[in-house]
Symmetry: C2
Subunit: 123 residues, 2 copies
DNA sequence: GCGATTTATTCTATAAAGTATAACAAATAG
DNA sequence: CTATTTGTTATACTTTATAGAATAAATCGC
């Protein structure tokens, strides 16, 4: 028999590298995290240029895994356009992000010669 | 016409999340980075349990992409056993690792509420 | 030398993640 | 009521991630 966690798909899969970036962008964007904004944020903050289809494919997967939730945004104040699908991270998603962070920082600490200048200071 | 970089397969692919872990372990293990040691290191340092086949599949891909190199180790001082295939990171691999690190740290810095205690101190 | 044991790698197959392109949907201004 | 704008969905395909079984090569004891 499956545990509650397994039933709802919250078992120990790992965050893919792009999934992690998208998740981080969703946190950064707060109340305005939706497809196009995520795509723009990835380009500006992560030097990552992808199509909008790539973003949506990933958010759909993240939602199915319970790492984010989505709701439909209200009518736009701007002219034209379909309503936004707004995303927010779940507690489970936040934990996944923190675990990933924890593992990497732990490894980096053991390899000081790898570190960039940016890492010489507290995050 | 392809650039030199493209010809030898060193263009802008991104490091997969498991590829990054394996690469980090290879750096950590220094002169003793080979299949089984990498697997053991992943378990001990990254809470990641995988089969040896998973490790080898990944190192093969990393080598094909020019991120690591391999050579055959000398005969063992211990009893029995085939010779080890020893890995070391290339300059290109090191750069890939640093870029990945740079992007993530940059994002984390913008999301202070995500950070764990470990991140309050310099890495 | 040769089989048993040990330590390792390679092969093969499949699932999951990453990604692009194109099609579709819905809001609103005129 | 249709053209324009802003956005999401659908589909297809490639690359990564992963397990399991098969195979290889070193050495020990006889």
């Amino acid at each position: 028999m499956l545990s509650k966690i397994e039933q709802i798909g919250m078992s120990k899969q790992h965050l893919g590298e792009f999934e992690e970036l998208v998740l981080l962008l969703i946190v950064m964007l707060k109340e305005d995290a939706y497809g196009l904004a995520i795509r723009k944020g990835l380009k500006e903050h992560a030097e990552r240029t992808v199509t909008i289809g790539a973003v949506h494919g990933t958010v759909n997967r993240l939602e199915k895994k319970g790492l984010i939730e989505s709701r439909l945004g209200g009518a736009t104040d701007l002219r034209g356009g379909r309503r936004k699908r707004l995303f927010n991270i779940t507690a489970f998603g936040r934990r996944a992000l923190q675990q990933s962070q924890e593992v990497k920082v732990k490894l980096w600490r053991q390899i000081p010669e790898l570190s960039l200048n940016i890492l010489q200071y507290p995050i």
